[in-house]
Symmetry: D2
Subunit: 300 residues, 4 copies
Amino acid sequence: MNENTMHIGMIGLGKMGANMRARLINAGHQVTGYDRNPEVSDVANVAELVEKLPQPRIVWIMVPSGAPTDSVVAELKGVLSEGDLVIDGGNTRFSDDERHSAELSEKGIRFVDCGVSGGVWGLQNGYGLMAGGNDADIAELMPVFDALRPEGERSRSFVHVGDVGAGHYAKMVHNGIEYGMMQAYAEGYELLSAKSSIKDVRGTFAAWQEGTVVRSWLLDLLVEALKDDPELKDIAGYVEDSGEGRWTVEEAIANAVPAPVITAALFQRFASRQDDSPANKMVAALRQQFGGHAVKRPGE
Amino acid sequence: MNENTMHIGMIGLGKMGANMRARLINAGHQVTGYDRNPEVSDVANVAELVEKLPQPRIVWIMVPSGAPTDSVVAELKGVLSEGDLVIDGGNTRFSDDERHSAELSEKGIRFVDCGVSGGVWGLQNGYGLMAGGNDADIAELMPVFDALRPEGERSRSFVHVGDVGAGHYAKMVHNGIEYGMMQAYAEGYELLSAKSSIKDVRGTFAAWQEGTVVRSWLLDLLVEALKDDPELKDIAGYVEDSGEGRWTVEEAIANAVPAPVITAALFQRFASRQDDSPANKMVAALRQQFGGHAVKRPGE
Amino acid sequence: MNENTMHIGMIGLGKMGANMRARLINAGHQVTGYDRNPEVSDVANVAELVEKLPQPRIVWIMVPSGAPTDSVVAELKGVLSEGDLVIDGGNTRFSDDERHSAELSEKGIRFVDCGVSGGVWGLQNGYGLMAGGNDADIAELMPVFDALRPEGERSRSFVHVGDVGAGHYAKMVHNGIEYGMMQAYAEGYELLSAKSSIKDVRGTFAAWQEGTVVRSWLLDLLVEALKDDPELKDIAGYVEDSGEGRWTVEEAIANAVPAPVITAALFQRFASRQDDSPANKMVAALRQQFGGHAVKRPGE
Amino acid sequence: MNENTMHIGMIGLGKMGANMRARLINAGHQVTGYDRNPEVSDVANVAELVEKLPQPRIVWIMVPSGAPTDSVVAELKGVLSEGDLVIDGGNTRFSDDERHSAELSEKGIRFVDCGVSGGVWGLQNGYGLMAGGNDADIAELMPVFDALRPEGERSRSFVHVGDVGAGHYAKMVHNGIEYGMMQAYAEGYELLSAKSSIKDVRGTFAAWQEGTVVRSWLLDLLVEALKDDPELKDIAGYVEDSGEGRWTVEEAIANAVPAPVITAALFQRFASRQDDSPANKMVAALRQQFGGHAVKRPGE
């Protein structure tokens, strides 16, 4: 191992964690991974993971936000020692970071949060990284960050955003923007699809990939998505949300920032998951009351 | 007939026209009505209607906007004479009024447009009226307007908004506001319904009918709608629109007026009528592309 | 005092509290009021207020939400006794109610929350009331509630919404709806004002007061507002918000309820208070970057 | 000139037209340009331009949409002959194309519309092109299109969208999407700027340029815009619109397509240009009416 390679622990080997482990190993780092699923795990439990790491130990958490992350942080607090360093790379709400950091610091354990973007393509392309923590901790982790991010100029894929929590805050806003961009493309898709004079919807999006103002990686993915299923016949208009969009709007409210586009994209997702809309039922009921307008019955 | 009673023609005896005829007759006016449906019509055709009226003839049109109104105006142009007066009381787009007026004026026929609000309750309560036209024509029609509107102070239910087209413009904006108000109540209904700690959703709306800031006639109707079906189980969330909301947003655009609330209410109606949303499909497809997120298939 | 009159304490004698005290006294109740402002206060402090009340003591809090209410609740916990009853009639966030209730119950003090709507007109018209708490406590307070609400059928101005917190939840949603309704009227006002063919904007709103679908108390107030200042020349487009709108949207998010209209109204208020919009600056900057479009400099 | 080079006319040598002429010449084509500004024009007038071109003549229009384009089309109809071919590359409303095409076809002049994206960077990077017209006309123009678009796979920067008008329709939707994307980034910018814990707003955007889901060309421009003016102190939040966003929303309405994000971005621009908002004044006035809430006076 040369001086720039490190041996770290990785907790959570799902789609993101497993790929990040692979990318780190490809870069010459050593990674011991733990996952609840024994088939993908290198060790039997977190205690064993910690035993295998050199001191000061560095452990990267890559599990779902909320209770799963809370529980891993608590478990790590039990088995790590003063001077060890925990990085939370999941999509944790920024407001949890200070709590986790405080919890760990009771035992002198250091904490860094890191927003990670790139999805399933990160293994191949590298990940965009947004870190929060103190300067020394971030500096110590730079070999790991440099391995995870795309090659090339560091400032194009890595930023030290601020103190603990700032990395996840930036990632939250990143995802809010992502909601808005996806909805913008999606509205364009619906408009083009609704117009019979547009003979080649997929070809139109494809032709926007170079030269245009709207070219982007999301657009490339959109073209890919239309390749095999140009009318999206095999996909239902049902869209989950995993929290960052909600938190972005909550922060917009907390800071009195108007965010109509991100919020519209969020509400669109909520609506996508409703069998029927109670609000729409009410509007139909009101129209019937004042205008005698016919209503549809459920199932009609 | 005393000097304030009139004999007018009414074309279109649907829910609105028939009730208006009844209210006019109750007030002592004479109304000869024509409808395509011979069972409700007083005369066999428009020509016969015109023959029955004293000169100068006054004919109130109460048919659907667009082609049906265009066609009645054209027919009236053929059979009316110089000095006769046509009132369009339907929900015509204001921009059609100038065209209709110009068409009729070629034969010296006068034209007034009048927005009419009140729905099926107008027979009993009277209608709110917004008239567009010149002063003399409006003055001549005041006995008709006074019979249609609720008793009491004229300025609370009648307005001469401006020249031809202004009445329908005001009615269009009225309906745009109506869209926004209904959607506001509907969102409140959905919020209260979603919260298990609210034990009496209908009772809550009922208790807003007096004293509160949100009391209104629409609220009274909302309480009525919940009386027999407190969870709106028998109504699907499918909402038609008949044009005024679209035109209001088009005018917002034409005049660079931000109208986020009225527009949101309009889009909600569009969405209510979709089996599935192509835009939502696209967002689901994009999430699958970058994040490997599972999608639902149609029907799942 | 007959059996239905009560003697209660009222803490907070601002616009709302003072009017409510007056209305209660007009109805034959006895009210001892405390306010930080000695000029309007009946007693020197909360302890003195409590001494003057018969047992079990009933104290109505009518102070701003948040810290002021927290502090009054804490003070009352110190001076009240088992069996006493506190009502919070302010615009407290529903989530604070359970905390206040738990705090007081440590000493056996009972708690009821009550949303109060009606503004400065409540003294004359009566208030709409939404109460949360247990059946026995609510029943005990009915003489007070009946005095505060308009005369007539109780169910049209009073509702027992559910357990502690439910009253304020209903009031929060009420205010969210209020935001949406006001913005709907305001957009209509801007549309009518932008159109030169509308000769009488105020007269148009006035004519909607009877017979129309959009008639409401807010509309009556709107006509009143335009009476002396038909173009609102003396009012800046600067709109405060006091929390309920924000909480409504937060609850929409928490319950995955799309609330585009209420949210648009909230964001409009945020924007109204900005000297310049950072988001708009960015859009201008982007247009300059890709299109060479000229930008304005601040103050231009 | 080899068989793939052409000699065409270009009318309009502003920022777009001049750059396109340069790119065509760089590719070996011959371009005779006309502009009302004699300093940049190759010829004195349109008639002279037409004389200089080989038959069948090909003339590319690159002037502002609306009246300027209408007038150039009319002038060309006067001086061109049967078999000549006009391309409108400006931002014309798609609905004008059919009219222009019909006008020209009266003399046997052919017509193609072409949406062009890429802004001031197109000279260097190439333009994204969306063409509408018949197969033979498009085929004849391919050498011109190939020179204008970026090198590489044709399908990534050129599409034959459909018949006349379809090219501009696609460009209109492209610009609608652009509005939504810019507003999404702008809201993210405002959110990050509002949060004091974010120590490096520009660095955060810079770090999104590689690896992340939101990477795009617009993001690169955003980072560029923040380079010299990281807080956009020299730019006012005043945003023009040149039509495509309005038309996109009009088409959303015409086709009953919900387009909340694109519409929100459009309304944001409208609001950015208001000294004060009449709607906001009304909301402030209403709050004063019911709640006695203080209002600000203009200039306060």
